[in-house]
Structures are given as structure tokens and as C-alpha cells.
């Protein structure tokens, strides 16, 4: 039987506010345990939550970016369960009326666009951390993370392969960073995925029983966990078994998922509206204000690069993979109009290659857009060859001669010979010294031409303008 995999994702994006969602304590990562937990985060008797407007503003930003409805009012609800790192014994979340409803995200699969619908996105607080090592059989509790603002973004079950799920997660990851609501740091847990996976016979409508996989903190794990889980479910079904609805944990070291809890021992969270927080009213004027401050979105920019600069869908996608890359590209082309393709090639080639090699983000690129533009200008005006430009680029990367393009060209003697008469003289010399190859060429041996070009380039240490050499040589041989 042919099986179809059905996937929906729940992503927890940590919002980039300075302070927590219901208290004034700092959200900075990595502080010594419990140094960023105030009386509210500790849930001392009598303390009350006060909503951080910055978290709401970021949720609105997200909602507008995915074409969703911003609910007003939305309601904060308590999700009740006991766990030592959950200080109040309930998590403040949103249940029946989330702040963001609907919307969609477009992903690119094999050059085609696919729309993934969003169910909702709601605000909630993070829990603390239980530390099970270093406490001699006891557990330690670190409440620094307790109360950190999260936006839980829930998709519809619209994905049909692990590759689509990864494409969705990556697009979402790029988007939340693009609009500045989340730093996207997956190692620090700022962007966490849970995947709902089910399978069904291809061609059928009814959804299969799903399992939720938790703890997917990289795109690679997301892909592998879904693949494993789909295989597991298909095997069970093909053996005549039934899938049990449960929550499963992905173990990266064994590359498998295993049962965390079944539906039967799932908590009854007893959601009810939090009486400590009033319904969240978001006036239209606030939404308008947030909308007008939104940056041009990646999708829009990608389309613009294709229509305005005639870039391929691939190039446009790569350049808009992050706002920093797109901004870098745009500030380069501003100084080098009509050379968009050249700029794109260099950013996607040399720049991105070097950044990858050194593990740098484009924001830390040692070559500024204007320095890159100066270099590329020297290619387009014929001063240096593309090959020589790579040598100049390397020197600039290493900070030689204050990254001054012309100084490096001069110092390294990379300037092209573009003077027709000088090249003609060279060509004559080489032709005179290689009579046999001239004869070969004229007798139809095309290869001899390349050999002659090579001789000329060698004689000029590669500095002769290759295009000119080609034209002049051809003229001489055929004339």
C-alpha cells in the first residue's frame, strides 16, 4: 500500500523582549541559576502577573506577517498541572481565544510554492528548568527561564513529507528573525519544534491517529524524527496493528522516538480564564502602528528581486533567506546599479563561502557592501579579471592594505592589459613563435586556439583581458 505522511508543527518561538512576559525580571540567557527570578517568577504567595506589552506587540507583528487575524479581545487562561519547575502550579497561556488566529506561510519545494495554513499563534510563559545532574540523587530547579515569553505557532496538518516540514520550519525560523521577534537560537532553545505525525493510505481523506514528537531542537532532528516516526507507524499498520495516540520523545543519539506519555495518562489541564489578567484588548490603532513599522517581508522581497532584477527564483530565495543577507545585497547593488546578477553571484559564492568556512554570520562579514561594490566595479569596468578579483577579495578578507581595492590591485599588479595595440603586439609575438599551432588551427584543429590563448595569458601572467585576447587572436588567425 502507498502511504501518505501528514504532519503539523507546533513551534515555540521565544520572544525577544528584555523582560519576562508577566514580570520585570531579565530574560537574558546563561545567567547563574535563579539569579533572574523575581518574587513573581518564584510564585511567592500574593504575587500577581502584569502583561508585558512588548510581547503582545511581537505577537501582533507575527500575526500581520502571516496574514492572520488579530483577535481582540484575546483571553489568558491557566493550564493547571504540577511540576517542580512550574512555580505557580499552572502555566499562563491562551486557550479558547488566542491573540493570533489563522494566516499562512509559503514554502518553496522543488521550485514550486506551497501554502501551509496556520491554525493560531498564542502567547504563553515558559517554565523553568529541572536539573537532574550534580545534585547527588536530587534535582535542582533553575527558574531563570520561568516566565520567558513564548509565541506558540500552530500549523494545520498541511505538510506531506519531512522535507516539507523542514522547509516550513526553516521559513518560519527565517520569518521570526526577519521581523525581529525571536533570535532563533536553537541551541539556547529560542526556537523549538514539536511535530504531530500521522500516516494514511494515499488517496484517503481521513486523518490517521497522530503522535506528537517533542524535543526537536534542530532541523536535522526534525527531519530524522519524522522519517523514523512515519516508518514506525507504517510498519505497525502494515502488520495489522493500530497507532496509539501518544506523546513521544525523539532520542537523537539512537535516532528513534519513544513513548513519553500516552493519552490515558495525559493531564486534564483544567483550563479556565486567568482571573488575574483582564481580557487583552488590542485597539485597531495599535495594529495599524505595528503594521506601518513592519519591514518588507521576505516573500515580497523575493518576488521583487525576481521581477525587478530578473534574478532566478533560487537566487532570490537564497538572498532573502535572512534579512541581513537581503540588506547586504541591497546595499551592494545600490552602489553598483544594473549589476544585480554579478552582486548576487558574489554574495552567494565568495562571501557566503568564506562566511561558512569561518562560521560567521553576514552581520560579522569583514567586507562591507560598499567595499564589495568597489571590487565588483573593477570587474565590470574591465580593470581586473574575475579571476584576479578573487585574489583581491582574499586580500581584502585578510584586511590587507586597509581593504583598499585599487591599492591591492596596484600592489599585486593585477590590472588587466586592455590596450588593443599592446595585446595585438603580444598576439603577433606568440603567433610568430608557434607557427605549428597556427597551421594546426587553420587545418581545423580547434584545440590549437585554446593553446594559443594559454600562451598569451602565460606571457602576460594572466593579466591580458581574455575577451580582448579572444577577439584579436581570432581576427589574426582568420584574417
Amino acid at each position: 500500500m502507498q502511504w501518505e505522511i501528514v504532519i503539523g508543527l507546533e513551534v515555540h518561538a521565544q520572544l525577544s523582549t528584555q523582560s519576562k512576559i508577566f514580570s520585570g525580571a531579565s530574560t537574558a540567557y546563561g545567567a547563574p541559576p535563579n539569579t533572574q527570578a523575581c518574587v513573581i517568577d518564584l510564585a511567592l504567595p500574593g504575587v500577581l502577573p502584569v502583561l508585558n506589552k512588548g510581547a503582545v506587540e511581537r505577537a501582533i507583528r507575527f500575526g500581520l506577517s502571516v496574514g492572520a487575524k488579530i483577535n481582540s479581545p484575546s483571553i489568558f487562561a491557566r493550564k493547571n498541572y504540577f511540576y517542580p519547575d512550574l512555580p505557580k502550579g499552572y502555566q499562563i497561556s491562551q486557550y479558547e481565544l488566542p491573540v493570533v488566529q489563522g494566516g499562512s506561510i509559503q514554502i518553496q519545494m522543488d521550485g514550486a510554492d506551497k501554502n501551509i495554513r496556520l491554525t493560531r499563534a498564542h502567547l504563553e510563559e515558559d517554565a523553568g528548568k529541572s536539573l537532574h545532574e550534580d545534585f547527588h540523587g536530587m534535582s535542582g530547579i533553575d527558574l531563570n527561564r520561568a516566565g520567558t515569553p513564548l509565541l506558540e505557532i500552530v500549523s494545520e496538518p498541511d505538510m506531506r513529507s519531512s522535507a516539507e516540514a523542514v522547509a516550513y520550519a526553516k521559513t518560519l525560523h527565517a520569518l521570526v528573525r526577519w521581523i525581529g521577534i525571536c533570535d532563533g537560537n536553537m541551541q539556547e532553545g529560542s526556537f523549538r519544534c514539536d511535530a504531530n505525525v500521522s500516516v494514511r493510505p494515499r488517496g484517503t481523506e481521513k486523518l490517521g491517529t497522530r503522535c506528537e514528537i517533542k524535543n526537536l531542537n534542530s532541523f536535522r532532528f526534525l527531519e530524522k524524527a519524522i522519517d523514523y516516526e512515519a516508518r514506525r507507524q507504517i510498519e505497525i499498520l502494515e502488520d495489522g496493528g493500530a497507532i496509539r495516540q501518544e506523546t513521544r520523545l525523539y532520542d537523537a543519539s539512537k535516532d528513534e522516538t519513544r513513548t513519553m506519555r500516552t493519552k490515558e495518562d495525559a493531564n486534564d489541564y483544567r483550563y479556565f480564564p486567568d482571573p488575574d489578567l483582564l481580557p487583552l484588548e488590542i485597539p485597531a490603532s495599535w495594529i495599524d502602528q505595528v503594521r506601518s513599522a513592519l519591514p518588507e517581508l521576505p516573500q515580497v522581497r523575493r518576488d521583487r528581486y525576481m521581477s525587478e532584477f530578473a534574478l532566478s527564483a533560487y537566487d532570490a530565495s537564497v538572498l532573502t533567506s535572512s534579512r541581513e543577507t537581503a540588506d547586504y545585497f541591497e546595499s551592494t547593488i545600490r552602489q553598483l546599479p544594473a549589476q544585480e546578477k554579478l552582486c548576487a553571484n558574489w554574495i552567494m559564492g565568495e562571501i557566503s563561502g568564506q562566511l561558512n568556512k569561518e562560521g560567521l554570520e553576514i552581520s560579522a562579514c569583514p567586507i562591507t557592501p560598499s567595499q564589495l561594490a568597489t571590487l565588483l566595479k573593477r570587474i565590470s569596468d574591465g580593470t581586473i579579471s574575475g579571476k584576479a578579483a578573487k585574489t583581491v577579495f582574499e586580500s581584502m578578507w585578510n584586511g590587507e592594505l586597509e581593504k583598499n581595492v585599487d591599492a591591492i590591485i596596484a600592489a599585486k599588479g593585477l590590472k588587466q592589459i586592455s590596450d588593443d595595440s599592446a595585446i595585438e603586439k603580444l598576439v603577433d609575438q606568440v603567433l610568430a613563435a608557434n607557427a605549428q599551432q597556427v597551421t594546426d588551427y587553420r587545418n581545423g584543429k580547434e584545440k590549437a586556439f585554446n593553446s594559443l590563448v594559454g600562451q598569451i595569458m602565460k606571457a602576460t601572467h594572466g593579466k591580458a583581458n581574455p575577451a580582448q585576447v579572444n577577439v584579436i587572436l581570432k581576427k589574426k588567425l582568420e584574417g
Partner: protein, 482 residues
């Protein structure tokens, strides 16, 4: 000194008849002498009270005194006070020294008032007799065989027995008004949102409201001036201009329309209480008021609605008492679940556990709509009844409690009978409207009776005026059991 009004005390402090240190010492001595019998206080801390008195004396000397500067106030043990044991009447918090001040405590501190001690209360404010306190029952100073009411029973006893000039209370279903009535003092629950809930240990967040308890309406006004005001740390706190609750006290009552809900004058009210109410209404008519019958058809549902919503919120509010970070923790346990079980089984008393169970039940999957949602709908209907009634009258009067104080132990075995003590009071918590109780005489066994005065939102000043005018022509509020 012990019978003086707040205004008299303030004047005498200003005139240097005595210092705050002397005044505080006097009350501390009286507490030492009488508290063993009444058990009104859980914690007395002479050192901390006297340090505040000394600071108050400096304020007075520097001419910076306000109306409450230097005056001892008894604080209900539900308010977190920095450096003070804050137990909420529970074993669960029997070792909890608060590291911070509640909004109410801050306001009293800024006013230069003295915290004279933390008063006894029903555990987590759940009770109507003060018998659920881990720290033992409080006696009614009018008759030590009787309960003082609850949950602010310690506060009511302290004021009635003159162990403190005034006290704070909190009111979730009647916890200020019912003990005020049973102990023959005055108390007011303001409109929800006027008094900060920050640092006031939550029982049922949407119903809880702090308020003052004192000998007279005049004193209540002074206390309310200090206690009310916007607190940005409480999202349900109301942002409105400060009001002077003393300013309308002297207004004549001519033309006042007093609404008498027929539902409150039906079965359930005992004869002695009915008689006292009738006499009081005669007094009000003499003051120029008229009475009109009004109807609150849904008001009799207040108790069932209250006993769904309050336990629902409480079951969640009390989840934080898990033995992990502070408070009581069972001494031995086998694993995490066992620690939770034993800690909460040993740390909470029977009534608290009962309400956690009720609350957990009504919020559970499959029951939520039938109980919680239904109760919320009825809550709105009850509020609509009152809003409609206030189109026909300015104020509503009735009994605060159906009977005088009952005997210690009389109802503690019968939760339903106990819950009915709040039959007249809980509606004001459901609607969020202000309500108060003032003493209007004595009934069976010479135990006090309270008049319930209920008003529309933000009508505190008018209600205090109505109470004060009565207290100008009667002396029930001046009577003291000791």
C-alpha cells in the same frame, strides 16, 4: 485611649498627649494580656511595631503626620509584610517570612501607621467562623462560647475587644462583613479593584477584595482613604482619581431611597435579626429616608454560584503551595508525587482540601461547561439584578448574616450550614459592588447584629455617609465587650 476613634487618636498624637511609642506599647500590653483568651493574633512582633512607632514619632515631630501616622493597625495575616511571618492561617505557610510588602501594607507604611500584629483567620480565608485556622479558633469577645465569624475573625475580634484601634480584612464572600456583624463592629468591602490585591494571598482572585474593619464608619472612611488607589502590579486594579471617603459623611439623608429586596426578607432570617433590622429602618425613616421593596430574583443563587467559582479559582491559586520553593514540606517522601501528596495532605486543613477538590472537579474536562460556565452566566444575571434594582433605589439594606454568632463547634461539622452564613454577603463579591456592615443592636444571648448596606459600583462615600448618619444618632458602635 482604647475606645478612642482614629480621629481622636490622631489629634491626641498631634497634641503630644502621648507618643506613638506609648500608644503602641499600650496596645501591645493589652494584646499580651487578652490575646491568650481570644487568640485574635497569630503573630505579634513588639520590636518591629515599636521601630515603626519610633519612626512615626519622628514624622509627627517633623510635622509630616497624616491622619493615620502613629496609629496601630492590626493586619490580617493574608497580607504579606516584609520580615513578618505571613501564614494565611495555614500550616502550609507556618514558616513563611515574607520578603516583600503587599500593596496595602506599603500604603499603611507610607501613611506612618504601625503594624501592631498579624491577625488570625480561617485558613486561606476559607471559612465563616475562624475555626479552620491552623492557629486555633478565635473567640467572640462578646461571648467566648461564640464564633467571631470569618474569615477575618481575628481582625473583628481585635477591634471589638479593643486590641487594636482598627484592622484590615479581606472579603471573598463576606469575610469582612460577616465577622464585623458577629463582633459588633463596622467593616466595608469596597468595589472590586479599588484596593490592590498585590501581596494579598489569593483565595478566589475575581472575588477577593481587601477592606478596613473599625469601630465606626468615620474610621472606615479614613482607612479607605489610605487603602485604595491604583497599583500597577495588580492588573485588576482600577485607575481612577483618588476619592476622599470622608467628605460626604455629614450629608443629610433626606430623600434617600432604601431598597429592601424581598428575597432577603424571606425565610432563613431569625426573628431577633429581623426585629433589629426593623428598628434600624425606623431610625432611617426618621433621618428622612424612605424604603422601597425591590427584587433580586437571582440573588438566592449566589451561594451555589459562589461555591462553584470560588473553589474553582482557589484550586488553581493554591497549586503553588507544593513544598518545592517555600513553606511547609513533608519530612519524608518516596518520590516527587509522594512529596506533593504528603506535603499538601499535611500542610492543608480539611476545609481547604474540600474546596480544592470541589474546584478541581468543576474545572475538570466534561464538567466545566455545566458548572464553571453556567456559574459565570448566573454571575452576570445576578449583577444585572442589582443594576436594575439601583434604578429604583439608592442603596440596598438587609441583614449581614441570618443569625447572631453561633457557638464554636456548632456548624463546623456541617459545611452546607456554614456556607449559608454568607447567604446575604456573597452576591456583592459576585457583582464586584461595595457592601458594608454596621452594628445595630443585640439579639439572642446578647450577641451583636449587623446591618448590611449594599451600594452600586463606587458608592462607598455615600454608603459611609448613610452609616455615619445612623451612628450619629445611635451608640451601638460605641459598645465594647470589655
Amino acid at each position: 485611649m482604647f475606645n478612642a476613634s482614629l480621629k481622636q487618636l490622631s489629634t491626641q498624637l498631634a497634641e503630644k498627649k502621648f507618643s506613638s511609642t506609648e500608644l503602641t506599647t499600650q496596645f501591645l500590653q493589652r494584646i499580651k494580656q487578652l490575646n491568650p483568651e481570644y487568640n485574635a493574633f497569630i503573630t505579634v512582633n513588639e520590636e518591629m511595631s515599636l521601630a515603626q512607632a519610633k519612626a512615626a514619632d519622628k514624622m509627627i515631630a517633623a510635622g509630616q503626620a497624616g491622619p493615620l501616622t502613629g496609629i496601630p493597625i492590626a493586619q490580617k495575616d493574608i497580607f504579606c509584610a516584609k520580615g513578618w511571618l505571613t501564614t494565611c492561617g495555614s500550616r502550609m505557610l507556618s514558616n513563611f517570612i515574607s520578603p516583600y510588602d503587599a500593596g496595602v501594607i506599603e500604603r499603611f507604611n507610607q501613611a506612618g501607621a504601625i503594624n501592631i500584629g498579624k491577625t488570625n483567620m480561617d485558613e486561606f480565608a476559607m471559612g465563616s467562623s475562624n475555626e479552620t485556622s491552623y492557629y486555633g479558633m478565635v473567640k467572640n469577645p462578646w461571648d467566648i462560647a461564640a464564633v467571631p465569624g470569618g474569615s477575618s475573625g481575628g481582625a473583628a475580634c481585635a477591634v471589638a475587644a479593643r486590641l487594636a484601634p482598627a484592622a484590615t480584612g479581606t472579603d471573598t464572600g463576606g469575610s469582612i462583613r460577616q465577622p464585623a456583624a458577629l463582633c459588633g463592629i463596622s467593616g466595608i468591602k469596597p468595589t472590586y479593584g479599588l484596593v490592590s490585591r498585590y501581596g494579598m494571598i489569593a483565595f478566589a482572585s475575581s472575588l477577593d477584595q481587601g477592606g478596613p474593619m473599625a469601630k465606626s464608619a468615620e474610621d472606615l472612611a479614613l482607612l479607605l482613604n489610605v487603602m485604595t488607589g491604583f497599583d500597577p502590579r495588580d492588573s485588576t486594579s482600577l485607575q481612577r482619581d483618588a476619592e476622599n471617603y470622608s467628605q460626604d459623611l455629614q450629608k443629610p439623608l433626606a430623600g434617600l431611597r432604601i431598597g429592601l429586596p424581598k428575597e432577603y426578607f424571606a425565610e432563613g432570617m431569625s426573628q431577633d435579626v429581623a426585629n433589629a433590622i426593623e428598628k434600624t429602618l425606623i431610625e432611617y425613616r426618621k433621618l428622612g429616608a424612605q424604603t422601597v421593596e425591590v427584587s433580586l430574583p437571582n440573588a438566592p443563587l449566589s451561594i451555589p454560584v459562589y461555591y462553584v467559582l470560588a473553589p474553582a479559582e482557589a484550586s488553581s491559586n493554591l497549586s503553588r503551595f507544593d513544598g518545592v520553593r517555600y513553606g511547609y514540606r513533608a519530612s519524608s517522601y518516596s518520590d516527587l508525587a509522594d512529596m506533593y501528596r504528603k506535603t499538601r495532605a499535611q500542610g492543608f486543613g480539611a476545609e481547604v482540601k474540600r474546596r480544592i477538590l470541589i474546584g478541581t472537579y468543576v474545572l475538570s474536562h466534561g464538567y466545566y461547561d455545566a458548572y464553571y460556565i453556567k456559574a459565570q452566566k448566573l454571575r452576570r444575571l445576578i449583577a444585572q439584578d442589582f443594576i436594575a434594582a439601583y434604578k429604583q433605589c439608592d442603596i440596598i439594606m438587609g441583614p449581614t448574616a441570618p443569625t447572631v454568632a453561633f457557638n464554636l463547634g456548632e456548624k463546623s461539622g456541617d459545611p452546607i450550614q456554614m456556607y449559608l452564613s454568607d447567604i446575604y454577603t456573597s452576591a456583592a463579591n459576585l457583582t464586584g459592588m461595595p457592601a458594608m456592615s454596621i452594628p445595630i443592636g443585640f439579639g439572642d444571648k446578647n450577641r451583636p447584629i449587623g446591618l448590611h448596606i449594599m451600594g452600586n459600583y463606587f458608592k462607598e462615600a455615600q454608603m459611609l455617609n448613610i452609616a455615619h448618619q445612623y451612628q450619629l444618632v445611635t451608640d451601638w458602635h460605641l459598645k465594647s465587650p470589655v
